[in-house]
């Protein structure tokens, strides 16, 4: 009896001791790249996280690429392409000199196999499928030509195709492994090969010496990095520490408070990279008192000293955001900058107009019992709670734990308190609780933002029937701007549509934008040519160079 348990103990100990042998890798410089989050899955066709793209961007090539400087679409696996006049189909002419890491030749069939996989319902794609928009199918014209067909024109297509989620995987490998196991055996055509992936521990890439078909902005450095080991550093306060101690040579999402330390360290480098998409923002619930009032919404933005927030929470590493898109997003309009500068006086007078003319014993504004003269009656929509006199100006914010949003909310609370707005903060634990809170409708502000170079991201939040329409706002005009923005192939038309949409969103004060997202990357000084792609998150590892070659031998 006792022996049995001792045996069990020994087995357990043995299990514990097994940390897995290191795989054999060719000699050459080796670095550790710190990822800030551990994705639950690493299959770019299936999973949706940005972190998976940090390594995998260099494992796969995409049909097209975006030049990180100009934002232009440049040839990738497709040497050129054309769109039909009606915008319903795109024909891609593929390179003929490309082969996958496993030797499989790249051709139109390979693209077809990938499209099949991504669009098949049983694949359960969480992002890639939706990046293809209203795709209806494809035609393989010849061995190196493929035509993608759409039921409706879909302007964001090239941007989608330039992202790793639509990277082209080896058909041979896809045939060999199923949807659950392919992520451990990924094979692409990119400048790095995947050596191994140990969930929760590491993902290792090694340089693909055969790589000759990179996009124009891939420039081979003098001292390339042979092997890159991606490890997970999910705890923000210890990320900078790992760089200093040499546990990692590159690290994303350094805490702003540590970035200052890092900038002063001669052995380390700081690379702040702006991320296109939505800024850190609070969506305002237009269906609930008091944010159902346009005037109150405007007042809330006027009452916010964003520069002070950026100063304290982000150590001035971020530009203040004034609109629904960050400055590096396609079709960002600088016109939004005129909306609602910090002006507490203006905020107060707006609140006065909205009926909040008195202050209660706690210093919070209230709508007095008798109607005050010269004030506008607060908007009453059928879905809003009934406005009773004497109700204090109480605003509820739902904040997720990430992105220093709780800190931002606390400063908001302190700022708003001084002019009589009572902000109640409810920090939730994750996306599921955020979604639950949104569904309950019991909020005035809720913070969520997505990233992406193409402004089509706005449609997920501001179209009337969008699943994430958490402002509850419905406007035919805005719907038109957003749907036409996604349909019109002509960039100039798109630009005017999205400019109108951004202005409309700010005119209606649907969001309280705070700051553009800046990814604070840190590296050791030995790493050079540190560059990122147009989406901001993904490093161009091929270009990275390392001083003192032979360091990793």
């Amino acid at each position: 009896m006792n022996r049995l348990f001792i045996t069990a103990l020994v087995v357990l100990l043995f299990l514990a001791a097994c940390t897995g042998p290191e795989a054999n890798e060719p000699p050459g410089p080796r670095i550790v790249y710190g990822l800030s989050l551990m994705p639950s899955g690493f299959d770019p066709h299936i999973n949706a996280s940005a972190e998976l793209g940090i390594p995998l961007r260099s494992v796969y090539d995409t049909l097209v690429y975006r030049d990180p400087i100009t934002g232009e679409f440049v040839p990738g696996l497709a040497s050129h392409w054309e769109m039909s006049p009606d915008g319903l189909s795109y024909t891609f002419y593929l390179r003929e000199d490309v082969h996958f890491h496993d030797g499989t030749p790249f051709n139109a069939n390979a693209v077809a196999v990938n499209l099949d996989r991504i669009t098949a319902p049983e694949t359960g794609s969480q992002k890639a499928r939706f990046m293809l928009g209203p795709i209806s199918g494809y035609e393989v014209i010849d061995a190196y030509t493929i035509k993608l067909n759409f039921t409706e024109p879909y302007a964001p297509l090239l941007d989608s195709l330039s992202q790793v989620y639509l990277g082209i995987a080896s058909p041979a490998q896809l045939a060999q492994y199923d949807n659950a196991t392919y992520q451990f055996h990924q094979v692409g055509t990119g400048p790095y090969r995947m050596v191994e992936y140990v969930p929760g521990d590491r993902l290792v890439l090694t340089r693909n010496e055969d790589y000759l078909w990179g996009p124009s902005f891939y420039v081979a450095p003098e001292h390339p990095i042979q092997t890159i080991e991606f490890r997970f550093f999910e705890d923000p306060p210890t990320r900078a520490l790992a760089l200093e101690s040499g546990d990692a040579q590159i690290m994303g999402e350094i805490q702003p408070i540590d970035a200052q330390l890092l900038a002063g360290n001669p052995n380390l480098r700081l690379y702040p990279v702006p991320i296109p998409g939505q800024p850190l923002q609070f969506l305002m619930n237009t269906r609930r008192f008091p944010t159902d009032s346009h005037t109150v919404r405007q007042a809330l933005i006027y009452a916010t000293n964003r520069a002070a927030i950026v100063d304290a929470v982000f150590q001035r590493f971020s530009p203040v955001a004034y609109g629904p898109l960050s400055q590096v997003t396609d079709f960002y309009t600088p016109d939004v900058a005129g909306y609602y500068p910090y002006d507490p006086g203006q905020a107060q007078s707006l609140l006065f107009t909205a009926g909040f003319t008195e202050t209660n014993e706690d210093g919070i504004l209230v709508i007095p019992t008798g109607p005050a003269e010269g004030t506008e009656t607060p908007a009453l929509t059928p879905t809003a709670e009934p406005v009773t006199a004497g109700v204090p100006l109480e605003v509820t914010a739902i904040v997720p734990p990430w992105g220093l949003t709780p800190q931002v909310a606390q400063i908001l609370q302190s700022q708003w308190r001084t002019i009589g707005i009572d902000l109640r903060i409810r920090q939730v634990a994750g996306f599921s609780q955020l979604r639950e809170a949104a569904q309950s409708g019991d909020y005035n502000l809720i913070s969520l933002n997505f990233f992406g170079k193409d402004p089509d991201v706005l449609a997920q939040f501001f179209m009337t029937d969008a699943p994430l329409n958490w402002t509850g706002y419905s406007d035919f005009e805005l719907d038109t701007y957003l749907s036409e923005g996604a349909r019109q192939p002509d960039p100039a038309t798109r630009e005017s549509m999205y400019a109108a949409a951004q202005i409309r969103i700010m005119e209606q004060a649907l969001i309280l934008p705070i700051r553009d997202y800046i990814n604070l990357n840190g590296t050791t000084a030995t790493i050079q040519n540190v560059q990122f792609d147009s989406q901001g998150w993904f490093p161009l590892l091929y270009n990275f160079s390392i001083l003192t070659p032979g360091d990793g031998n």
């Binding site: 009896m1 514990a16 551990m38 939706f130 659950a180 997970f232 101690s245």
Partner: protein, 310 residues
């Protein structure tokens, strides 16, 4: 003995069934699931989400899903993660080693420290050494693990730079978390060791042993520890549960891979099959550890053994 084993097995299975059932229904109190969350963030429409859920059988009646899950469980199949599509067995197996490594090395630390402090306390009370050991063991019980952890990271990683702060790679990554968790768990062990040894020290046979002229150390070795340790072992079994709970926050704090991390993300992302799998694991470990404690207790204390065989 056989009857005892059979009862044990039965109660173990019952506990597992009850915990799984509880977890299965409790988890579904919140609407939504991991896949809905992911799809929403990926840009899917409501119709597309509904189609996905249907494909994963998430829209069938709860009883149906429950029976299906139990059926799988009987065959040792814990289902698949909604997010990574990996079999839950595999996900848990991958992380289990790291958690066990942490738990066992922490248990080792806790035992050394706890038995040592407790024995010193029992023997040297009320002298200064005894009081110091007492104070230390209470500090261990009183300091929140995240506070000890923060201080440890600050001293050993930031200031001295001799140990990595977070992560899970080689043995160096294990030292800080194991020490912090072990220190924390040593308090309870010290406490019970002290109580048990003091009790024995007062017992008649110990006085007799002294009277026979045995030296203090001989008495300690032959009589006191022999008689005083069984209750300590029982508490260590309780500590094992405590340690597993402690590994969760330790893993989160030191960002170590392991069951704790897996559980935290699965709970927050509503990846039900993974949470249920960990519940099953937890129930199994709990039952095993308790059975182990009973058996060890019996082996070391003959009275209990006869009781069992009766």
């Amino acid at each position: 003995m056989l009857r005892f084993m059979r009862q044990r097995l039965l109660s173990t299975l019952l506990t597992i069934w009850a915990t799984v059932t509880l977890a299965f229904f409790a988890l579904r109190v919140i609407p939504g699931d991991a896949i809905t969350n992911q799809l929403l963030q990926g840009g899917a429409t409501e119709a597309e989400i509904a189609a996905h859920r249907a494909a994963l059988n998430l829209d069938s009646p709860l009883w149906n899903q429950y029976l299906g899950y139990l059926g799988g469980l009987l065959q040792g199949d814990l289902g698949r993660s909604l997010l990574s599509r990996q079999p839950v067995n595999v996900l848990i197996a991958e992380q289990f080693g790291a958690t066990i490594a942490l738990a066992l090395s922490a248990l080792g630390t806790a035992l050394l420290l706890g038995l040592g402090l407790g024995t010193i306390e029992a023997l040297f009370w009320p002298r200064r050494v005894g009081r110091l050991a007492n104070a230390l063991s209470i500090v261990a019980l009183s300091t929140p693990i995240y506070w000890t952890g923060t201080l440890a990271i600050y001293f050993f990683s930031t200031a001295l730079g001799i140990l990595p702060a977070t992560g899970s790679g080689d043995l160096r990554h294990l030292i800080l978390p194991a020490a912090v968790l072990g220190f924390h768990a040593s308090g309870g062990i010290a406490r019970i060791t002290r109580a048990s040894l003091r009790h024995v020290l007062e017992a008649g046979f110990v006085r007799t042993a002294y009277a026979k002229g045995l030296s203090k150390w001989q008495v300690l070795h032959r009589h006191v520890l022999r008689a005083g340790l069984p209750p300590v072992l029982a508490v260590i079994a309780l500590q094992a549960g405590f340690l597993l709970g402690g590994t969760v926050i330790t893993e989160i704090l030191f960002v170590r891979r392991g069951i704790g991390q897996l559980l935290q993300s699965a709970v927050l992302e509503q990846d039900y099959p993974v949470v249920q799998g960990i519940v099953v694991l937890s129930a199994i470990i709990y039952s095993l550890v308790n059975a182990l404690a009973d058996v060890l207790y019996g082996a070391l204390d003959p009275r209990v053994n006869t009781d069992l065989q009766a």
